[in-house]
Symmetry: C2
């Protein structure tokens, strides 16, 4: 059982940002400078090729701390951010760049997402174990998955299906949906907010609708704005979703 | 030019409800007991077969008055509520009930919606003219269309396309989309919130996606919840949409 070791700490604008490791996995924990113990914890996934401190993720994390009093956690996915890539990771990334056609691009993307999710789910669960042993968080803090479209969802769906500690989740489109993901979605019974970039150039909308349909929860909302998964500007999202389910 | 004549007035829970007529068209105006002049005005459409004081509409109207300080207006669609039905209306309604199959049901629905919208758009515009001559509202009050799915949208889309006074609109699915409606949507450039009952038994989702795609506005949001247009329970809608665009 790996413990959480803090590696850095800075404070600005009312937010404490602490770097940590759990085993080999580096992460960041953002928390209010002061607040009640056992405040809700939100797990945030990053997109493919990005990392735990991608500017958009940091902005969302700080906003959730400041406006809602949540703690927010992000970890680097395998082979992302500060983590080494395996020979297999390098090979797949090269294949991505060289994919001769759409079908090959799709199949390489799916194989890579599946491989990352298989490794990332136990890492997230160990991170959660370690976080729950911290005095400021403990076992009573409600836990939500705060999304990320694309890779953040490819990891988040099997994680939420596997871990009963997660009681609400934000997912989204922007990646290729595959069968194991649909199967995992069918095991999810907690409230889901699903964010769909309406005009993704790579991903078929219908596959995202099938994913939305698969969630075995009565309380689910699909929210779409124009744009693809890089240009999307989210407008009119239900910002109170996690607060409603975690407080 | 028809004037607005008030026919009744009651006050409860901080909301003044006044019945009125503009020519032959009966309507209701809900307003705050006290508030600034030129507060935003929201036009609310009712669904097919319903009327201006359908309980769900009244609840939404009173909520908008109480929580947002808006004035809200509803009028009966032709042949609905307190209005007489023409022989043609009666004939079409009988056809509805007797439609032998899905295709016929669809074509009768579309013909009826088209006929109602043709009559209702000039009625709404006369109502707006008359409202703007009221001292408490005037020509400076921002105006939004507050929806209703189904018939409220079949009327609201051509109305919003035709009337430049409307500066934001909530529409929704739950009815059969037809070509004139798509053409009108292509002329709409104001922000749009689009509410889609995800599991409508009659209406093909794809036709609603085509309608959402048609709006010629950069700021549009599609919001879907499970359910058909009678059982839908809206969760996680952006309640601040009209306030953001009308204030």
């Amino acid at each position: 059982m790996d413990s959480l070791c803090f590696t850095s700490e800075t404070t600005s604008d009312g937010v404490v940002e602490r770097g940590f490791t759990v085993g080999d996995v580096p992460g960041v924990l953002w928390s209010p400078v002061s607040g009640p113990a056992s405040a809700p914890v939100v797990l945030m996934g990053h997109g493919g090729g990005l990392h735990k401190k991608t500017p958009a993720l940091v902005a969302r994390a700080r906003d959730a701390v400041t406006r809602q009093g949540f703690s927010v956690v992000a970890i680097d996915a395998p082979g992302h951010g500060d983590r080494p890539r395996t020979a297999e990771d390098e090979r797949v990334r090269a294949e991505f760049r060289q994919a001769p056609d759409r079908d090959r691009f799709r199949s390489v993307s799916i194989a890579y997402a599946r491989s990352l999710a298989e490794r990332a789910v136990p890492e997230w669960r160990s991170t959660l174990d370690a976080l729950q042993r911290l005095p400021g968080i403990g076992r009573d803090a409600p836990i939500g998955y705060g999304g990320g479209i694309s890779l953040g969802t490819a990891i988040g769906i099997p994680l939420t299906a596997a871990d009963p500690r997660i009681s609400a989740a934000i997912f989204g489109g922007g990646f290729f949906v595959y069968d194991e993901l649909l199967a995992a979605a069918r095991r999810i019974t907690v409230p889901v907010q699903f964010l769909l970039p309406w005009d993704d150039e790579h991903v078929d909308r219908q596959s995202c609708f099938a994913l939305f349909d698969a969630f075995a929860t009565a309380e689910k909302t699909l929210h779409a704005n124009p744009g693809d998964h890089r240009t999307i500007r989210w407008i009119g999202i239900d910002e109170g979703f996690l607060a409603r389910h975690l407080n």
